[in-house]
Symmetry: C2
Subunit: 329 residues, 2 copies
């Protein structure tokens, strides 16, 4: 019943809903309503009560709850199977476990805090509670495994679009799938694959976004490289709202990918990247070299022109952009 009352208040957010109206619609007593309003207030919802006018929702807390995520979620598939936790070791690990147990295409695992969040190559990813958005999406794409890397472009485009729409901040994509604001990282994406040799069992896309951290929340060694959306925009953002915006964009871009193909995604990617034209340093397990990122090819490989004039195609590796101070970030 609490959920139903909340839904009515949300649908009329900013306006009064009378106790009588709620009572009639939900067939509950005025006292029962009053009790649930009290519960909602305790959860952090700001609700104005007027004996004459009824109840008016003023603000919703930025808490990750299934109900908050499901209300107004404009997707057909993504997030319809949903797991929300206060604390997990890693949303990707949990999503992989759920997927191995049969979780459906589009399943989403969200946590307020990750105790051992990971970035690429097992690197730690700081995931403190209350400030960031840490979640993973299970996809079961009808693709051959060797095409799975194309999904990192799909997710980068979707996340970049969604952050731009939701915050108005001019974030960009760094090849292949980091999201930057003013050269600093606001979001990392870790894509993992489980496959037989010729079919994909599932793909898990883990998305970590620095939403409301203060600069002081970042460890010193990250302050030059990382930033939160809140610092970038000088305002706090609602994580649940951003999550829903991303899920919607991801569902949309994934659909475009399946129907129109990879070129359509690469076209979107090009329009959102800040990597092309930049001086970059490429590091792989074998070597490190510098050059100018000229373009990407049809497979998404970064084409880097080195000093000797040759163009090298980079399929995997870390790419650093040359910062304003002349060193690579």
């Amino acid at each position: 019943m609490k959920q139903a009352i909340l839904q009515m208040l949300i649908e009329n957010q900013g306006e009064y809903v009378s106790g009588e109206q709620i009572s009639k619609t939900l067939h509950v007593t005025r006292t029962a309503i009053w009790k649930q309003i009290k519960n909602l207030k305790q959860e952090g919802y700001e609700i104005d009560s007027s004996p004459r006018l009824g109840y008016r929702l003023l603000s919703r807390p930025d808490i990750l709850k299934p109900e908050e995520i499901k209300i107004g979620l404009a997707t057909e598939i993504l997030g319809r199977e949903l797991y929300v936790f206060e604390q997990v070791n890693s949303t990707n690990d949990l999503a992989k476990k759920k997927a191995a147990e049969g979780a459906s295409h589009g399943t989403v695992v969200v946590a307020d805090q990750q105790l051992s969040g990971r970035g690429r190559l097992g690197r730690p990813w700081a995931s403190p509670p209350g400030t960031g958005l840490w979640f993973s999406v299970v996809l079961r794409p009808p693709l051959k495994p060797f095409l799975a890397p194309q999904l990192i472009f799909v997710s980068a485009v979707a996340v970049c679009h969604a952050i731009r729409d939701y915050t108005g901040l001019p974030v960009t994509i760094k090849w292949p799938n980091d999201i930057l604001f003013s050269g600093k990282k606001v979001c990392g994406i870790l894509t993992e694959l489980s496959a037989e040799i010729d079919i994909i069992n599932y793909v898990v896309i883990g998305i970590g976004i620095n939403v409301n951290q203060e600069m002081a929340d970042f460890p010193p060694e990250l302050q030059e490289k990382a930033i939160s959306l809140a610092v970038a925009g000088n305002t706090k953002y609602n994580r649940v709202g951003l999550l829903k915006a991303i899920l919607k964009e991801l569902e949309k871009e994934y659909e475009i990918y399946l129907t129109e193909g990879f070129p359509a995604v690469l076209k979107h990617w090009r329009s959102l990247t800040s990597t092309l034209g930049q001086e970059v340093m490429v590091s792989s397990t074998d070597e490190t070299f510098t050059g100018v990122a000229e373009d990407i090819n049809g497979e998404g490989c970064l084409l880097v022109r080195t000093e000797d004039g040759n163009v090298r195609s980079v399929m995997v590796g870390d790419v650093s952009l040359r910062g304003k101070e002349g060193h690579y970030l």
Copy 2:
């Protein structure tokens, strides 16, 4: 102590080892030895006892036990981390779980029976107790994920070699990695991959071999397509011995792959296949066509010349060979 006594008997299999000798070597009483011999007999070891000459091991039971597998295992890495079960749902699923929890490169999971053994594409794989060899190997190859399919050729070569050496039967490889005797399947291999986009977390190679089944043990619908080594060779084979032979060959072929590269493996593969030169039917999710399997290319794709004279490269799909009666098996 039982293990130590067994080891002494095995090292002298067929010859008597005196109670005095065992007693001196292991520092145990004659009565203690007698008790352990009794236990070993109960486990199925045939041991001849002579009051004057001592104990003589006549035969070892074909039971899957860690001790039996470890004695005489001629590998450096494969099987050194070893899990043996009477019954599991699927050795591949369990091996994936162990790998996700950190099991080392070379870990082996063996079961006497699989309750829900799987072949490719989730197809059921009959895995009754006592007769077959059902096991999975965890590898952590230093490869890019897109190269993982090459491991199916590595494992096919190793298994085919090992079965030939161990049984003397002229088994062959059907593209890409089934093992056939006289056109019927004696072994299937299911390779699964867990990866980030640019590094492999682990590969699990599941190997299922029909060793000692009678023809009547196979479900009717499989009797035209499947056969056991025992039926093929008209004798029973020791599953533990075969397992050790395969692990040794797999370790060897994997080493060749890493040091000499994929061409060396393909060369071995070509020498063991019965697919080339055959009329085949290729089935994929999209279509079915027939032709003659002419060759494989450097990536391991099957090259099939169709009736119109064109050559088609098959990367994935089911391939059936045209049987003696003219239909495809």
